[in-house]
Amino acid sequence: MASPIEFFSNVEKDSWVHRMDPRVKILMVLCLASLPLLFSDPLYLLGWFVLFLVLIMSAKIDIKPIMILFYGGLVMVFVYIMYGTFLAYPEETLVYAKFIWRWGPLVATDIGFYNGLILGSRLLILLMPIVLIIATSEPSMLAKGFMKLGMPITISFILLATLRFLPLVFEVATRVMEAQRVRGLNHKTFKERISNFKFLLLPLFINTLRQSRTLGLAVESKGFGARQWKEFYRDFAMTKTDWIILVILLIFVAAMLYIRFGLNLGWSAIYRP
């Protein structure tokens, strides 16, 4: 697990995305991470991929420290490609296949691979714009952005708390497992891992809760929830550039909707079994 410091190593950089108002950034990412769902034609998907790549590069984001973000997504993409390729398609679909490869019960076809590629790339493309917001925004500014968009303080607090506690839970889990190993608990085989799971669960739950709840008490003692924050020490306001980006975004969204539904382009049938 990457440490939070490493995780936010791109935040201090300076680019047009870094300077953008958090509210515009949130709206931009919401639009860009939803629109590609309307498209399934490989050519259009390639267009989305290139667009996101250009955006990430123009934001001067160093991918290496945040590579962990992509691991889960890449596993899913790989599984989707494999799943689409080896899915048991009916004979009436296989008739149209130009290439068929059989290995025991597994049948791979060009149709299946094409399907898998569409599914996998759609998933990858949907995850790409998220990097723009995570890598270029300070979590506190992001929370403030959400609050200025009307999100309740409770949910904004939760958003920030998740960033603090996930690494803590990882740390406690590692410590508990190491302590158990020192005491001679063996995790060699899969069966042993399953049966020893119960020895991990309770100490993990208790230790994490004990450590974290003290922070809750500290926050509580400062009057959390008694007041509604409306202004901030480090405030921000929409600039002329933000408004221009917002207008460009609206035009882009309208153009994409017109291409997809007005011109009926960008859709390629996905074969279903």
């Binding site: 769902l37 962990i68 939760i158 708390a161 998740t162 990882f170 994490t208 004990r210 007041r227």
Partner: protein, 193 residues
């Protein structure tokens, strides 16, 4: 820093009963869920049969969380927490957020009605039978929202025939997670205090 002590939004008022300790408790359980969730990720190769693991771990962590907090809005905020973890540490499809964030609403409503009938949230969230029904509703809705995303939004050609057996197994495993979570919740409630 100026504040407004009188005007509190309707949504904010809904969560007013939850203290910072409650919120952190929910976040910690959501974080625990996401760590146990790695098992689900590793089992992705057997998709869609890895799905029941998702509901098992989700209920295993949600049940002790609501048993400790025992207040309305806890299930919703637990869901928001793990969605936030998804967003920050994995990347998430915003469209699915809307779907997933509505999942806890009906279980919340069920517990609200049961709490009224039984004489309070403390009683309702301590009752195993009620928790299992609550868990089954949550699992059913979560499974439906997951499948809607996978089949219709992402266009996965998963054979429709698998929808029912995987769903049934998810419900059984989800109930098992709730049952185990209940015994974990009983133990840690006393130990943590």
């Amino acid at each position: 820093m100026t504040t407004d002590t009188k005007k509190v939004g309707a949504v904010e008022a809904l969560f007013k009963k939850l203290t910072a300790v409650d919120l952190i408790t929910l976040v910690v359980f959501a974080a625990l869920f996401r760590i146990l969730f790695l098992v689900y990720k590793l089992a992705e190769i057997v998709f869609p049969w890895n799905h029941p693991a998702w509901y098992f771990f989700c209920m295993l962590c949600l049940t002790p969380a609501v048993m400790m907090v025992r207040k309305p809005g806890a299930t919703f905020l637990y869901t928001v927490s793990w969605l936030a973890i998804n967003f920050f540490f994995q990347g998430e499809i915003p469209l699915w957020w809307i779907c997933a964030a509505t999942v806890p609403l009906i279980p919340e409503l069920y517990m609200y009605m049961r709490a009224k009938a039984m004489g309070g949230y403390k009683v309702a969230f301590g009752d195993l039978k009620e928790l299992i029904i609550f868990g089954l509703i949550y699992t059913l809705l979560a499974y439906t929202s997951n499948m809607l995303l996978i089949i219709f939004a992402l266009g996965n050609p998963m054979p429709r025939v698998l929808f029912w057996p995987v769903g049934a197994l998810s419900l059984v495993v989800g109930a098992l997670g709730t049952w185990l979570g209940h015994s974990v919740g009983k133990r840690i409630s006393g130990l943590v205090g």
